[in-house]
């Protein structure tokens, strides 16, 4: 049979056979293999991506943790500082209060002392006046029996006593 002119019979069978092979393989053969391989390569790709993300999030977590620790430290320092400030404040306020209270107590004591002094003065004065009255009475009682001149003196003395009493 000739070399470069295609034979009809072979052409016919080749079309038939190749079409059949193509049909079978394109329907039941290669798509199955291709999709399975693609499924696996997709899976590998997804896994790689997921691992990458996991690693990134892990790194993120570490950074976050560090940040949290830093924040906590700052917070701690702040709280300590605040506490010491508050303590100082409380102490100084207490001192002020105590001083104020002491001053107030002193004031009141002074006032009381003054009042007591006044009161004592009044009482002393009353006692003095009653004593002098008694003295005077005794004197008066002794001399009244003598004369008129003495009576006059007595009057004068009494008046003087009254005057001094009034003055004080």
């Amino acid at each position: 049979m000739s070399l470069i002119t295609p034979e009809f019979g072979l052409l016919f069978w080749m079309v038939l056979i190749f079409a059949l092979v193509f049909f079978i393989l394109a329907k039941f053969g290669f798509p199955v293999i291709s999709s399975a391989v693609r499924k696996r390569s997709d899976y590998i790709g997804d896994s790689l991506k997921a691992a990458d993300e996991a690693r990134a999030s892990l790194e993120n977590l570490a950074v976050e943790q560090q940040k949290l620790i830093e924040q906590t430290r700052i917070e701690q320092a702040r709280i300590l500082k605040e506490a010491s400030e508050t303590r100082a404040q409380i102490i100084s306020k207490a001192r002020e209060d105590a001083e104020a209270e002491a001053a107030r107590v002193m004031e009141r004591t002074k006032a009381e002392i003054a009042a007591e002094k006044e009161h004592a003065m009044l009482e002393l004065r009353a006692a003095v006046s009653s004593v002098s009255l008694a003295v005077a009475e005794k004197l008066v009682r002794g001399s009244l029996s003598e004369d008129a001149a003495q009576t006059a003196l007595l009057d004068r003395l009494a008046a003087e006593a009254a005057e001094t009493a009034l003055k004080s």
């Binding site: 019979g9 393989l25 293999i33």
Partner: protein, 345 residues
């Protein structure tokens, strides 16, 4: 491995039993001792109505093949019963009606057709068994074994490196065709090198076979070509005078046919040349038989060494040609599916 050996043995045995002796009756081969290189080589590379196995002591052993002709009606007979059925083979090997001397429409199961059928069954079995592995295994858990491990790297290499790059984003639509073409060519190439019965037919070195393969690529390219592909053929972006006198459209339309034509010729010529080279080297042994034992012995050594080298080369060529056909088909499909990107427009 043992099973494969047993199958090969059975096939060879079947071939030997099926082969029936017939006398070397053609007048081409001369007397005893002379060796006709042309008929030796062409007898191996051309298609025929019987499958010649070997000749021993002047008797030729061949497997008769069914002849099917349309001669006013469908007629079928085995090739060794041709004369009884009123037909004979002319010098070129065509079936001729003895009574009318006319050539009927011949759709016989010839050597190449039988080889095609056998190789196709083998191919379908291989691929379907491989596909069955993927059906029955969880691809996310199991590592491919056996046939799947053998074929998967090839399929992945073709799909990812050749088809995806050449065809573009919608490669999945075309990859079954391109993969089929690749494995079809590859298995026929390899079986062509294998010299024992089911192999040895020069299938991919036959222009009808490569022509049909190129025709399928032609159909894939042109039936599924994009709008832009057709616009580029009939109204390309060239100066107006090249379109008014339709130089460019004529060239483009010619290009539509030259591309698959080159595919057809490339595969055909490469495989044919490989077979002829191998057979020529083997023929050296028989050619030098008449020149004395010393020359014949030394040439036999040379021929065997060259034969081993050429066989190894042919295995490489078998792969390369299948690869080239697939890659160029993918490129042609890619060109026809190409949508102009903004920067090229």
């Amino acid at each position: 491995m043992r099973r494969a050996g047993v199958i090969t043995f059975i096939l060879c045995a079947a071939a030997l039993f099926a082969a029936r002796p017939c006398f070397a009756s053609d007048g081409k081969s001369g007397g005893e001792g002379s060796f006709d290189v042309t008929s030796f080589i062409f007898g191996h590379i051309s298609d025929s109505h019987e499958w010649h196995i070997t000749g021993i002591a002047g008797r030729e052993y061949s497997i008769p093949l069914p002849c099917i002709v349309w001669d006013g009606g469908l007629r079928a007979f085995m090739s060794d019963r041709m004369e009884e059925n009123g037909y004979f083979l002319d010098d070129e090997g065509h079936i001729v009606n003895s009574a009318t001397l006319a050539r009927p429409l011949d759709i016989s199961i010839t050597k190449n057709v039988l080889g095609l059928i056998f190789d196709s069954i083998l191919l379908v079995l291989l691929i379907l068994l491989c596909a069955r592995w993927y059906r029955t295994h969880d691809v996310l858990k199991d590592k491919p074994t056996g046939l799947a491990a053998l074929l998967e790297p090839v399929i992945v290499m073709l799909e990812q490196d050749v088809i995806k790059d050449a065809v573009g984003p919608e490669y999945r639509r075309f990859s079954p065709y391109l993969l089929t073409a690749f494995f079809f060519i590859l298995i026929n190439n390899l079986m062509g090198i294998f010299p024992v019965f089911p192999g040895g037919a020069n299938i991919t070195g036959n222009i009808a076979v490569t022509g049909v393969l190129a025709l399928f690529t032609f159909l894939m390219v042109n039936v599924l070509g994009s709008k832009h592909y057709w616009k580029d053929i009939f109204w390309p972006d060239v100066p107006m005078f090249l379109k008014v006198i339709p130089i460019m459209p004529v060239i483009e339309i010619l290009g539509m046919f030259t591309k698959p034509f080159s595919l057809m010729i490339r595969l055909f010529a490469n495989m044919l040349a490989g077979h002829i080279m191998l057979l020529s080297v083997i023929a050296l042994i028989f050619l030098t038989a008449a020149l004395g034992p010393v020359l014949n012995g030394s040439m036999t050594v040379v021929a065997v060494l060259f034969g081993v080298f050429l066989d190894a080369l042919e295995v490489l060529v078998a792969f390369i040609q299948a690869y080239v056909f697939t890659m160029l088909s993918a490129v042609f499909i890619g060109l026809a599916r190409h949508n102009p990107s903004p920067e090229t427009k």
